[in-house]
């Protein structure tokens, strides 16, 4: 798998800084992401993971630093730009609109168009058909394409969101803590999906708190801490415990391990 890293990186984040008023959320972070690899972004709460990927996907403009996409410097003014460049993102909670149907959610922002008398209409038949197919492929059997997303479980929603991103030909798929609210079965489902996506030569950026989830699918691991990167490690170059230590900062964990039996 590591052979992929020898390719040209699809996206390079160079020395990204992001300030919110007086809060310094990112203090110079550089990360390269390669096609076909799953790049895990780890770090504690407030480390700046979400902020980092939001600059990557055009939600935030970096205060300082450069984004190079497929070799060319890019300036994303809003998420649409990033999406049309091929960067799809599944956000922490805000993936779906509960009151809307699955099909409409699936195609939200990328609605298929059918021209009747030159007027562009929403192609409902196509949208419904594609949605049903894609969902079945992901293992979700909908009652119908008109079923509201509000009736799906959390894992099902994450799966829909990932399926959507892949379907629209993303070259980079960013997932912000897709597994944090999920049960074992649904987590496996999401991890398996990531694995599948990666094999289609798509770059995956996977944010998680869970070292084991990261190790299950990750090719490379970047740990963020308080707005700075602690470096990137290749798969196989790092043990779970080292990664855990890197995320938490050593001593403290040792202290806890004593009383809790080392199984955190």
């Amino acid at each position: 798998m590591n052979t992929r890293s020898t390719h040209e990186p699809i996206i390079q984040m160079r020395d990204i800084e992001k300030h919110f008023g007086s809060v310094i959320a990112l203090a110079g972070v550089s990360v390269d992401v390669f096609p076909g690899e799953c790049h895990c972004l780890l770090g504690d709460n407030g480390a700046g993971k979400s902020t980092f990927i939001k600059t990557m996907s055009g939600v935030h403009k970096p205060t300082h630093g450069e984004i190079v996409f497929e070799g060319k410097p890019m300036h994303f003014d809003d998420p649409r730009d990033a999406i049309s460049a091929g960067i799809a993102t599944v956000y922490q909670d805000l993936a779906m609109i509960p009151l809307m149907s699955v099909a409409r959610n699936f195609f939200m922002g990328n609605e298929p168009i059918k021209r009747i008398a030159g007027i562009p209409f929403y192609d409902k038949d196509h949208a419904d058909r594609v949605t049903m197919d894609e969902m079945r492929e992901m293992g979700i059997n909908l009652r119908g394409p008109d079923q509201a997303v509000g009736t799906l479980s959390g894992g099902e929603r994450q799966t829909v969101a990932i399926a959507r991103a892949v379907h629209f030909g993303a070259k980079v798929l960013i997932l912000d803590e897709p597994t944090s609210a999920l049960g074992v079965r649904q987590t496996s489902n999401v991890l398996a999906t990531i694995d599948k996506v990666r094999k289609q030569n798509i770059a995956v950026v996977f944010i998680t708190h869970n070292v084991r989830h990261a190790l299950a699918v990750g090719d490379r691991f970047t740990v963020l801490n308080r707005g700075k990167t602690l470096g990137t490690a290749q798969r196989g170059q790092i043990t779970p415990d080292e990664l855990q230590d890197l995320m938490a900062g050593g001593q403290e964990l040792a202290e806890l391990e004593g009383s809790l039996g080392g199984t955190v």
Binding site: S57, V59, D78, P79, R80, I83, S84, T89, Y91, L94, A95, M96, I97, P98, L99, M100, R104, F107, M108, G109, N110, E111, I113, P120, F121, Y122, K124, R136, E137, G139, I140, N141, R143, Q147, A148, G150, T151, S153, E156, R164, R185, N189
Partner: protein
């Protein structure tokens, strides 16, 4: 994979299946439909021979309903997009007054006055939207402010310029104008003449128009209402932009993240609402020939009520233009029907309140069934 699929299947087994009939019935418009049927049944029983259902009577409540529909379409789309506009009523007064001032006081051609008023009002709508978007304030507050500001100017301008709060004589200056008939004219006169001749419709018995049918055409107001309802319905359900409207109201942040231009959608909907209000005002001014500072009072509530009776969710993301149109129809029929039925007019408000309450409760129930909301 089949394994996972099976699991999800099981998951559905924990929920009772819905019959096909029930599923076909359960649509956002259901509440509006039930209400419409109930209202018509009621008045057919209690006001059948009062003239409510002769040609003239039908035209009467149709016009009133059409008026509500015009503003309800705008309010409905805006509400689905997650905002609302309390300045609709003031905008109606303002737009009419501007047309009057431009065309009568300043003596400009009517078409120019109309176009300028549209431009001004749509701009004001855009400003409303822009402030909402930029400050993140609730639209309730922002448009409440414009309610007062616009009404203030609507009284101030004519009073300073003309020393009265009503400006008349617009019909005279609009004579021969090419744009005015699109708002104030009628269509279908030959058909109605024929209907009158064969006796389906009563004819005038005396005066200059003796022999002409009492209903001599369909006012453009009704045409505008129908056109706007169809436009709104198609836009909402059949286009990409319609999907964006739902998305913007359902969860603006989520929509923004997948690339829906939420700000643009919302501002456009504020502009569309202003457009609808201006259509209302222009039709009124062109039909009646005068603009008054009190025009449109409380119309913002009437629009919101019609939309809510029609099944839209006050907080956005859910609703239907057809439903809103039915809500407007119910509103208009009840308002005029109570007159036909001879009910004391002050009780109209009581009825309205009660209908509103029942309609939203019914709609909430229907919506929960549709969306599986808890």
């Amino acid at each position: 994979m089949s394994e996972t699929a099976q699991v999800t299947d099981l998951s559905d087994e924990r929920i009772k299946e819905m019959s096909a009939l029930r599923r076909a019935l359960i649509r956002p418009e259901l509440g509006g439909m039930v209400g419409t049927v109930a209202v018509f049944t009621f008045f057919l029983l209690f006001a059948y021979d009062s003239g409510m259902f002769n040609a003239q009577g039908v035209l009467n409540w149709s016009i009133v309903s059409a008026q509500f529909m015009i503003i309800a379409v705008g309010a409905c789309l805006l509400m689905i997009a997650g905002e609302f506009d309390l300045s609709v009523g003031s905008m109606i007064g303002f737009a009419g007054m501007m047309i009057a001032i431009f065309s009568v006081t300043l003596g400009w051609p009517t078409w120019l006055a109309i176009i300028l008023s549209f431009a001004m009002c749509i701009t004001i709508g855009a400003i409303n939207g822009f402030i909402v978007i930029r400050t993140g304030l609730p639209s309730f507050i922002v448009t409440l402010a414009s309610l007062f500001i616009l009404r203030g100017f609507t009284i101030y301008f004519p009073q300073t310029i003309e020393r009265k709060t009503i400006i008349g004589g617009i019909r005279d200056v609009a004579e021969g104008d090419w744009l005015a008939p699109i708002f104030g004219g009628k269509i279908g006169q030959p058909v109605f003449q024929w209907l009158g001749d064969v006796g389906v419709i009563d004819t005038f018995e005396r005066g200059t128009r003796q022999g002409q049918p009492v209903v001599d055409g369909i006012p453009m107001l009704i045409v505008w209402a129908i056109v706007l309802v169809i436009f709104g319905h198609v836009l909402l359900t059949k286009t990409r932009f319609g999907n964006w409207i739902f998305a913007a109201g359902g969860d603006a942040q989520a929509a923004r993240y997948v690339g829906v231009p939420v700000n643009r959608v919302k501002i456009l909907m504020f502009m569309f609402t202003a457009f609808c209000a201006t259509v209302f005002a222009t039709c009124q001014v062109m039909e009646f020939g005068s603009a008054g500072a009190d025009r449109g009072l409380l119309k913002e509530f009437e629009a919101i009520i019609a939309v809510v009776i029609g099944g839209a969710l006050l907080t956005g993301g859910y609703g239907s233009v057809i439903g809103a149109a039915l809500g407007a129809l119910i509103f208009g029929v009840v308002q005029q029907g109570l007159f036909f039925a001879g009910v004391e007019s002050s009780l109209f408000r009581v009825f309205l309140g009660v209908i509103l309450l029942f309609a939203v409760i019914l709609n909430t129930y229907i919506r929960r069934m549709i969306t599986g909301e808890r």
